[in-house]
Symmetry: C3
Subunit: 106 residues, 3 copies
């Protein structure tokens, strides 16, 4: 039986123009890898940036609980107040969890 280690997957949907800034912030928060797919989104209506049709990215990042907490803080501080961003967290299982959570030694 393959033993799976629980880890946090955070999915973030944001405007494409935010990509390099967002990825930089994820890396600073301790993320070691991510998966990006092109997306279109439609956000809650009646908000300042209500329609985000086209030109979005969907970023998935697998992280430890501590890094997840830092990512949420960054989103709260620097993104949610200013941009139409959707983000959610789920618990997933991986093998070789160290690949996603260990601090790089070089």
């Amino acid at each position: 039986m393959t033993a799976l280690t629980p880890i946090t997957c955070i999915t973030i949907v944001a405007e494409s123009v935010l990509e390099s800034r967002l990825l930089g912030d994820l890396e600073t928060a301790g993320a070691r890898g991510w998966t990006i797919t092109a997306a279109r989104g439609h956000g809650p209506r009646g908000r300042r940036v209500s329609e985000i049709e086209g030109g979005n990215i969907r970023v998935e990042v697998l992280v430890s609980e501590a890094v997840a907490e830092r990512i949420w803080q960054v989103l709260e501080d620097k993104y949610f107040p200013h941009y139409a961003i959707a983000a959610w967290s789920s618990e997933v299982g991986v093998v070789r969890a160290g690949r996603y959570t260990a601090v790089p030694t070089e």
Copy 2:
């Protein structure tokens, strides 16, 4: 510590031609936003619409339990009997849950 609110994420994979109809039904069911990515799918074999290679959409929608229930009803009534659709639900955590679940006031 960032407090996350549990919310339901429903993922639906359907043929692209169904997009506007499906999104209309999601909105009627109470969904306030969604994320769409282009996808290719391969469905269970030996079914009426067995191969759905190319031209699919993958829609993710974050909703309250009540809206999720209505979405499942719509899928059961109007889509599963007629189309090659895959759909699954997962529990995720968000901050500012009201953005995804509150009824728009305007």
Copy 3:
């Protein structure tokens, strides 16, 4: 109330060149369908195949526990030692679970 059946969703992010081989292995393991989206990835640094920018696929497959176990074994045996692959498992709910898990009769 729609009754959801728990099922395992495995997500695999791999280089696009592995697509046909990977899908063949998934099918052999018992998967009956999958969803593919184009992706870009950035893997853990300081590994043999550390940067996997561009040309990735993100494959999602809904399977029974037994099939999930076989997929993890295949990934462990044939992919993780050789390729920059990320994979994670989550528990999701579906209706009509037999569509995803039943053995095809033809």
